[in-house]
Amino acid sequence: MRGKVPDVMPLAKSPTPNPSRQGRGVKVKADPKPGPCATTMIPIHGLRLRAVLIQALRNFFIDRGYLEVETPLRIPAPAPEAHIVPLSSESWYLQTSPELCMKRLLAAGIPKLFQICKCFRKGERGDRHLPEFTMLEWYGAGSDYLGLMADCEALLRYLAAAMDKGGVLAWQGRKIALDPEWERITVAEAFRRYAPCSMEEALVRDRFDELLVEYVEPHLGLITPTFLYDYPAELGALARLSPVDPTVAERFELYVAGLELANGFSELVDSAEQRVRFLAEQEGIRLQGREPGPMPEVFLAGLETMPSAAGIALGVDRLVMLFAGADHIDQVVAFMPEGL
């Protein structure tokens, strides 16, 4: 199926002015904060491109034998993560990722599966963030993080062909070539090349994230997309450690034009080890003055029967931004929270 954006698009119905906003001194809701895009502008063109891209995405996975699944958005025990805060839904939570349910399906005997769904993360709002956003996750039994990297290359090349991009994505003044071999660089090497100190020193001084964002990320994915891989073990709570170097987790991130697009890893399938990692994350949550949610006991029990596998999460809104040439995430979603 060729996913072309239709040539003739009926003009959008002009949005009727919201009467409650007329007049001076009418206050916009104080929280969440208004973004740089007008709350009343619906990005019709962005939405049309988004729909075509998502259909192409579906076709890619269906053609390769992946089963599309839908797992519950509302769950009792999200995976504990020090820096991701779930939104409560009465005594349960809205998922921050479908990961735990997807892995239970792997354990139940579905070898290749994917899902495109909403995820919710408290307090994440910016040019590239929405508290409610769309994620694509796919898992493959018997695969590993190298297999996922190959999947990413095939996926982006397939989408670029479907959207008539001529093997190049243009974003924020850069042209990123998809057909040549993609850059691969370890986190340690990236810090050596771009950051003012080493990765180890950054971790010790608790400046890893800051230095990654300020010094490293702007250099990634500028000529071809870049895989940043082999993260320090402590930054891969659900990832399997490298059998060659246990200080490193088999985790990678995909960057295109400095934009973080996907996070994948070889899955940890040792239940005892996973519990230890979850306990460490819970401790991290307490250190920030928050109470952790319940330990995901059912998930941990299910890990016993999970096959060796790899899984990845990709930000669909950001993918659309890249294909639409949109600088701001507001330009590729129907409504931002501030516009509701």
């Binding site: 949005p15 919201n18 619906i42 820096h83 910016g126 994230d209 964002v213 300020e214």
Partner: protein
């Protein structure tokens, strides 16, 4: 106190006893990592600016500034003249001190003049102002260029992104805190 999640462009804070305005702000969060709030802060008295990355638990004090309601009269070169409606006292505020506010000032508009130690250092505008479109590419019905917005120029010289159907002469409501188009207003 403002927490990091309150940070936005235009926020006025106090650091080491002096008032600063947040002239730029961006939120970042590398995968699985901590939220980072990067802000550019300009000293409202000296004009010196610096950048700093804040974390989720960081806070900044609200700027302790006196406010007084005044009316904008006119501008003369780099100086903008305001008048107190009660005392008829006039004062000047420089274009540099006004910052982005110059984009939204219209004659006889009431604003809150901010003072530090009795000296005016900036203004707070009403949340919304209505401004006329003075320049816009014409809207052709049936235009299939596929763009969701276009830039137009307003009577103050400010350029703003608007829906494609907006034309010259239209009056628009603008959110002064973010500088974005809200809606078209009927005269």
């Amino acid at each position: 106190m403002y927490s990091a999640s309150d940070f936005r462009k235009g926020l006025k804070v106090q650091i080491d006893g002096e008032p600063y305005i947040m002239t730029d702000f961006s939120f970042s969060k590398p995968g699985k990592g901590q939220a980072l709030y990067r802000a550019r802060l300009r000293n409202m008295i000296t004009g010196n600016a610096f950048e700093k990355t804040f974390r989720s638990n960081d806070k900044l004090e609200k700027a302790a500034l006196e406010e007084r309601t005044m009316q904008y009269l006119y501008c003369q070169g780099e100086e903008y003249i305001f008048m107190d409606n009660v005392s008829f006292e006039q004062l000047e505020i420089s274009k540099a001190q006004l910052g982005d506010a110059v984009n939204f000032l219209t004659d006889n508009m009431d604003v809150e003049v901010l003072q530090y130690n009795g000296r005016p250092i900036g203004v707070t505008l009403p949340n919304f102002v209505n401004l006329k479109v003075t320049q816009s590419d014409p809207w052709v019905k049936g235009d299939t260029s596929g763009s969701d917005s276009k830039p137009v120029t307003l009577e103050t010289g400010y350029v703003v992104q608007v829906p494609p159907f907006i034309e010259e002469g239209d009056k628009l409501q603008i959110d002064t805190r973010t500088g974005v188009y809200v809606t078209r207003v009927k005269e």
